[in-house]
Subunit: 177 residues, 3 copies
């Protein structure tokens, strides 16, 4: 009787440990380097809420994954874990470009009552369309410790909902140090 | 004379072996692990035919590459080897979202006689446009043996032809076990 | 006094060396292989100017990174370092498809005076929209020393400006040899 209880307890404890490990892996940073010179860094974090429109977040990425500077060559993969926001690379200088982009997207995927999926508001289904058109992930080359962006390129988060709230990003860096 | 024949025969045999190896590599699975801890898995497989529209295929990906569960951290790259179908990540719950997406794409790239490329039917050229707008590949972070998708995210195959037939995917998994 | 001058000189020299190294890394090719079997190759190069429209550049990629043939399995990442040109994968056979694609993009993001960002001409802001819709990067599986493209797939550079000039690509190849 006691033996069975002990077995159940140990099964329960190992389950708790397993779930905790999965949660730690899923929501915290991972930095593994068992092979000398080859590195994987992965970090999941939340951006503060942005208003509807397009926003430059290049510096937030450097802040979230400062290890980029250690990589001589590699790829940074940026992934937004939502279906009504998106990521793109575009102009980092003129503040008019994000505003014009938001207008252009509203013309390409206009709001209206012609959608089936209307429960969450008129801004919901167009947000799904814009998200798939723009894409939910980016891959950027890393060269000599920097994202190898062109002079005028910046990373944008596009918030397609009126009140989208905080958005979670998962950044995975892989390369040679 | 016999020497030349032998040389030709051996050249021919080595050519056959080379072509066979290329074919094996191209159409079968590859799982290489010469560096301990660092793994590449690549598998090419055919999806069953889908009707025109958007379809969730997340579970088919797990079935095709069950090795995902071995990776602590990595990237899954999913590639559709056609120019009139596409891949995207979007809503995995409401069945209305794929239907509305198909309608929205038909508005963005409508059928009509205004295209030059009309030989294969009215649905052909719009399919090429939709394929480039949505994209033919996805990169998804792997975390603790799972595709690290958001709660509402699923992988979609978008069939843009009326009768597109079976579609071939090449999935490449790379990461640390 | 002399000590301070020497220190300043050595600081200046080390700065020059640092800047040179960054420039060498950024604009030249990198081929690193400290881990046997696992390779990173990265090369930045300029395409000749293309006229506005869609152009197949698959062979230019093979020419720029001939090392692809050494990789048994891997991923080729192609990145255009500009915000008014883009990359996509589409039809490699019919010359009508790139022409129809250019027309379709002009309908999706038309020119006009309804944009704020008009300083550089009417073709400028639509080019930014098209760039984000199509995307500035591609990831293509490598299998047995080749880009594992479908039979009808080719890599396209889309020039969205009237006179875009030369465009810089950064190609990063990673895989197992």
């Amino acid at each position: 009787m006691r033996g069975r209880l002990q077995r159940r307890c140990s099964t329960f404890i190992s389950l708790i440990i397993k779930i905790s490990l999965v949660l730690i892996f899923r929501f915290c940073s991972i930095a593994v380097s068992s092979v000398p010179g080859i590195e994987w860094v992965q970090r999941t974090f939340d951006l503060p809420p942005y208003k509807r429109g397009c926003h430059i977040i290049t510096q937030q990425i450097y802040k979230a994954v400062p290890e980029i500077r250690n990589f001589r060559v590699g790829i940074a993969h940026i992934f937004v874990m939502h279906t009504s926001a998106s990521l793109t690379i575009n102009e980092n200088a003129s503040p008019d470009v994000p505003l014009d982009m938001e207008d252009a997207l509203n013309k390409i995927a206009p709001e209206g009552h012609h959608y089936r999926h209307l429960d969450e508001g008129l801004d919901d289904m167009p947000a799904h369309v814009k998200s798939s058109i723009m894409g939910c992930s980016l891959s950027v080359p890393i060269t000599a410790g920097r994202l190898n962006l062109g002079i005028w390129q910046g990373v944008w988060l596009n918030e397609h909902r009126d009140y989208g709230g905080s958005r979670r990003l998962c950044i995975t860096i892989h390369g040679q140090c």
